[in-house]
């Protein structure tokens, strides 16, 4: 994976998601700068980085909530860079947003049903999600506003799954949740995602503050710093020191010589 831009890099169409030269601005600030990224079908990719590194902005651009100032996003061979957010579910991109964002005046079951609004054909359905989380079946009529953080996260996840995405985007799933809850949710991920061949599985791009969790579940990890990819690789191949340096950047005097 290229950490620096290469203007001649063609988008990789064997990949499910292929991002080239992505640049997203917040006012004058360039939150994502000239980013390249590929995700293969069935692959789980983690994006880590400090606050303000551009992680959530990247997800926002992939989900269609933010419009990039430059660059392309190709999904399953199609250019979706300018596609509005509400059309991306039908393409197969589902975002589980930061803070869950369930619909408070809807019940648990109704929240799951909203995920089916523009669902693609596939194995996931409201019933299948309830099989996975039996407590949802018991409390299907309860208002979503009364759920705990972990329960809301599960429902939000279920809502995205019901759409049968090909690419699942997870934005800071661990935010505001107890570590035990976070562990439980991440333990679920492999079971959720396929079970069959990787080509049939759901690709995941997850953004995480909890670096340890991210490294545990991901096939590949990218570390962002100031909007660019500072480090990429398989978790097993990366050292803690590499990650630390990529995470915080080379600001400490003793690193500048290295």
């Amino acid at each position: 994976m290229n950490a620096r831009q290469d203007p001649d890099t063609q988008a990789d169409d064997s990949a499910l998601l292929s991002v080239r030269g992505l640049t997203v601005h917040h006012g004058q600030l360039r939150a994502v700068a000239d980013l390249d990224l590929d995700i293969a079908p069935g692959e789980t990719v983690a994006v880590i980085g400090a606050n303000g590194a551009g992680k959530s902005t990247l997800l926002g651009a992939l989900a269609g909530i933010l419009r990039p100032s430059a660059g392309t996003i190709r999904f399953a061979g199609r250019d979706v860079t300018g596609l509005p957010a509400h059309r991306r579910v039908a393409e197969g991109i589902c975002l589980v947003p930061e803070g869950r964002r369930l619909f408070p005046s809807l019940t648990v079951e109704e929240n799951l049903l909203t995920g089916a609004y523009r669902r693609r054909p596939g194995p996931w359905s409201v019933e299948a999600v309830m099989d996975l989380f039996p407590w949802m079946r018991e409390r299907r009529g309860q208002s979503a506003a009364r759920l705990s953080g972990g329960e809301q996260q599960a429902v939000a996840l279920g809502r995205a799954l019901v759409g049968n995405p090909r690419l699942l985007l997870l934005d800071e799933v661990s935010l505001g949740l107890a570590p035990a809850v976070v562990q439980r949710i991440y333990a679920l991920l492999p079971a959720l995602l396929n079970g069959h061949s990787p080509a049939q599985g759901i690709s995941v791009l997850l953004v995480e503050q909890d670096v340890a969790q991210a490294l545990k579940v991901a096939d590949r990890v990218h570390c962002l710093l100031e909007g660019r990819v500072a480090l990429s690789g398989r978790p097993a191949e990366l050292t803690a020191r590499q990650v630390e340096r990529a995470y915080f950047g080379p600001t400490r005097p003793r690193d500048s010589a290295a």
Binding site: V24, H25, H26, G27, Q28, I65, R67, S69, P84
Partner: protein, 374 residues
């Protein structure tokens, strides 16, 4: 204080000259002088021109006052009221009532303003229970209540209204001149009052509330109190304008003085002129007075034109004409109420980018704005 902060920032970022903070530049000084001159000229007019001209200009003064007050409410306090005609009517009837008790009507204008502020206090307790668009319609209902209540009082003329007779002893030309000067005084007081108010602590509080109400509240701004103060001041100013209307017309009709059309005019003037600026209502009033003179014969079509212009302005010109002038290259500000940081040479901003031209556009949200109103 702020100069030090800028200097510290600049020092952190590298070599740079110290920046400064200023409130108004040369333009502001010129505009202050210019405004003073304009007021002097206007004050002289009764000696120079016919009554028909001063009548038109008096209407202009009323509109400037009304629009400035509506702008204070909606543009600065975020309180969109479609019921300000309540205080126009109350102000007019207050002068009538006071004159029955022997008060000189010209003095009654001031008392009417105070009376309206007094009535606005309990009114606000009710009105503030509604938010956003519902607040707007609620003020309209309240205006209707005052309308009907006044109509039921026969001593004030009941449904057909009454005339103001206590000025009939005065020489008509003198009476018109004094009315004109009172109108001028009310208009100047309104605009100057807005300016001074917004330069002070209340203005700062209101700007904070306008940006983010919750954050302002947790920063110690008493949001409700700030809004209530503005509501009372706006009621007073609007009442004064209503009082001037009565004194100039010498009679009042409840259906016309409480007509929502007054609000339509206020809204139109403020929005076309430029909401959220002090200059906007004045500019809008000038434009409106001219248009009204030119098109007054066109009757219904004039109103259709006005309504269409309001719709167009809502969608395409939300910051009004003055907004165009003050946000483009001109950066014109005759009555500056904000602060400008003038960076020194070689300054850099927080992200490490040097201050050159405007940056790229911020990412546009696709689809409808998730931030809803109210």
């Amino acid at each position: 204080m702020t100069g030090h902060a800028v200097a510290a920032q600049a020092a952190l970022a590298g070599q740079a000259d110290k920046g400064t903070v200023k409130r108004g530049g040369r333009t502001a000084a010129w505009s202050a002088a210019g405004s003073g001159a304009a007021v002097a000229v206007l004050a002289y007019l009764p000696f120079a021109v016919f009554t028909s001209t001063t009548q038109t200009i008096l209407t202009f003064f009323e509109l400037v006052t009304l629009a400035s007050m509506w702008n204070l409410l909606a543009g600065y306090a975020g309180l969109v009221s479609v019921g300000q005609q309540a205080y126009i009517g109350l102000g007019a009837y207050a002068v009538l009532a006071f004159s029955d008790w022997g008060v000189q009507p010209f003095l009654g204008v001031l008392l009417a303003a105070l009376a309206c502020a007094a009535i606005a206090l309990p009114t606000s307790l009710l009105a503030f229970r509604l938010r956003g668009d519902y607040f707007a319609v609620g003020t309209w209902v309240i205006a209707e209540v005052y309308h009907v209540a006044v109509t039921r009082d026969n001593s004030l003329g009941g449904g057909s209204g009454r005339a103001l007779t206590t000025l009939s002893g005065l020489d008509p030309t003198l009476r018109d001149a004094i009315t004109y000067w009172v109108g001028l005084g009310v208009a100047v007081a309104s605009v100057a009052g807005c300016y001074l108010l917004l330069r002070g602590r209340l203005g700062l509080a209101l700007t904070a509330v306008r940006d983010n109400e919750v954050a302002a509240g947790s920063a110690g701004v008493d949001v409700t109190r700030a809004k209530r103060v503005v509501y009372l001041i706006a009621a007073a100013g609007t009442g004064a304008a209503g009082a001037v209307v009565l004194v100039s017309q010498l009679n009042v009709n409840p259906d016309s003085i409480f007509d929502v059309r007054w609000t339509a005019e206020m809204i139109f003037i403020t929005v076309i002129g430029g909401i959220g600026t002090i200059e906007g209502p004045v500019l809008g009033a000038v434009l409106y007075t001219v248009v009204q003179r030119v098109f007054s014969g066109a009757g219904v079509w004039y109103l259709i034109l006005l309504g269409s212009a309001a719709v167009a302005a809502a969608v395409w010109l939300p910051r009004g004409l003055w907004g165009l002038a003050s946000s483009g290259r001109l950066r014109l500000s005759l009555f500056p109420i904000g602060y400008t940081v003038v960076p020194g040479r070689g300054a850099v901003d927080a992200a490490g980018f040097s201050r050159s031209g405007p940056g790229p556009r911020s990412p546009t949200r696709q689809g409808p704005d998730p931030e809803s109103s109210g």
